[in-house]
């Protein structure tokens, strides 16, 4: 297995940098060898750019892939959109000679060449496959006794044929990762349904996208969870800003939104501030107090 280059994308460094910080903290703590993928651009986002022009989407994605190829590292993504774009582009370019030749014609203008020598990973599937839920459970210091609504996000699991993470109707791997941190993944209706953000719907039809978000939030709330745990900053933003927006219309949910990197960070003992939880729109002091209380408990006495 190659070392990892961390691919930041757009949303994490530019809107939710706490997730970036949490990711770097947990990778270091778990002794996972990583370095920055310097000079990377937008993946580019699957919703708009893949819809608009396949060649542009493939070409820009190939430049990001080549940056990692030139370092002989795999790419580690922390966003389902980046995972989807880069993995799909990598698969297409590895298997379709015509597409590869076309992309390389463009890349030649910046003295690059796509060769197809690396893999694209997502932090959740990387942790699950390379470390495993059981070992992760042994590595954590503060088991987080929380009831959690797990949201996979569409592009982490689907298309299942390409992702190879099991079925998408009743997936389990992410729940196992969350439960490895001491939390309980609470079942809720519509669990595998979309957050509403993807496909350019959020950018063009914000209110409609929030209706889909409201569907999810209502069911998560009904299940009595302490927080939402996701694997994607786009879903993260949709739940976070969606709640702020829906609250204006009198629908209050107050569900803290937590990226898996942040949850893992807190299970490793980092404070809610250190993983950037306070940078969300939805800040729930009771939830943060609960985390602090868990973190203060001296487990060595147990």
């Amino acid at each position: 297995m190659k070392e990892l280059s961390l691919f930041l994308g757009c949303l994490i460094p530019n809107r939710y940098p706490g997730i970036e910080k949490a990711t770097k903290l947990v990778l270091d703590r778990l002794d996972i060898k990583w370095s920055e993928l310097k000079e990377a651009s937008c993946c580019p986002a699957p919703g708009v750019f893949r819809s608009f022009d396949r060649t542009t989407w493939l070409t820009l994605a190939s430049r990001n892939l080549v940056l990692a190829e030139n370092k002989n590292t795999d790419i580690l993504t922390i966003c389902n959109g980046c995972f989807s774009s880069l993995m799909d582009a990598n698969n297409i370019l590895k298997n379709d000679e015509t597409a590869r030749d076309e992309v390389n014609t463009h890349l030649k203008k910046i003295n690059m060449e796509y060769k197809g020598t690396i893999e694209v990973r997502h932090i959740t599937e990387f942790l699950y496959r390379e470390i495993g839920a059981e070992k992760l459970n042994h590595a954590i210091e503060k088991p987080l006794e929380l009831n959690v609504a797990v949201h996979y996000g569409c592009h982490l699991m689907k298309p299942t044929k390409d992702r190879k993470l099991g079925g998408a109707e009743c997936p389990v791997f992410f729940d196992e990762l969350v439960e490895a941190l001491g939390a309980v993944s609470v079942p809720y209706e519509g669990k595998t349904s979309c957050c509403g953000a993807g496909g350019g719907v959020r950018s063009a039809m914000l209110e409609t996208s929030f209706e889909m978000t409201g569907y999810k939030l209502t069911r998560m709330k009904k299940a009595g969870v302490d927080c939402i745990v996701n694997a994607c900053p786009f879903c993260h933003m949709q739940y976070d800003t969606g709640q702020a927006e829906l609250a204006k219309a009198g629908k209050k949910y107050d569900l803290p939104v937590v990226h898996y990197s942040q949850l893992l960070g807190m299970a490793l003992g980092y404070s809610p501030e250190e993983v950037g939880l306070h940078l969300n729109e939805i800040v729930n002091p009771e939830f943060e107090a609960k985390i602090r209380l868990i973190q203060k408990q001296d487990l060595s006495a147990v």
């Binding site: 940098p17 580019p44 910046i110 689907k158 509403g196 719907v201 039809m205 940078l279």
Partner: protein, 147 residues
């Protein structure tokens, strides 16, 4: 035809029944698939209501790549200049900054407080941004999306 397998569709409606967007919008994926074999549907606003969640594609009993078809139909519409204003804006961000969502001052100062500094992306490296712009020009993306 780029997605000839759609001719095997027998209009069962599993796609539409599985669609999270169709619960709230006029998007009916079954109809999109049917109509696309009969006429030009580039101007249908429903094409842009799909969140690309892939439920329809996963569940299609004929194995039709339904979501991929929607993407193809969208790119046909874009070729005809049918682009929503919000999407044009996202494209302009990409062309200008190499990011769909660029770094702003507010989040730059949050990064500083977190001890992160500038992201190690095209935001920090002008030479890298120039490469991105060269590629976008090479694929004629600005011509495609600019009004």
């Amino acid at each position: 035809m780029k997605n000839p397998e759609i001719l095997t569709c027998f209009q069962c409606g599993t796609c539409h029944a599985s669609c999270p967007s169709g619960k709230y919008t006029s998007l009916n994926v079954r109809k999109i698939i049917r109509d696309s074999t009969r006429k030009d549907i580039s101007e249908e606003p429903e094409l842009w209501m799909c969140t690309t969640c892939y439920n329809c594609q996963e569940r299609c009993p004929r194995g039709i790549k339904v979501t991929d078809c929607v993407l193809t139909l969208r790119s046909e519409a874009v070729k005809k200049g049918i682009i929503l204003p919000a999407h044009r804006k996202v494209c302009a961000f990409l062309i200008e900054t190499g990011h769909a969502i660029p770094l702003d001052e507010k989040h730059n100062s949050i990064r500083e407080k977190l001890g992160l500094g500038m992201p190690e992306t095209v935001s920090k490296y002008p030479k890298a941004l120039k490469e991105v712009k060269t590629l976008l020009n090479s694929t004629k993306f600005p011509e495609l999306v600019n009004e």
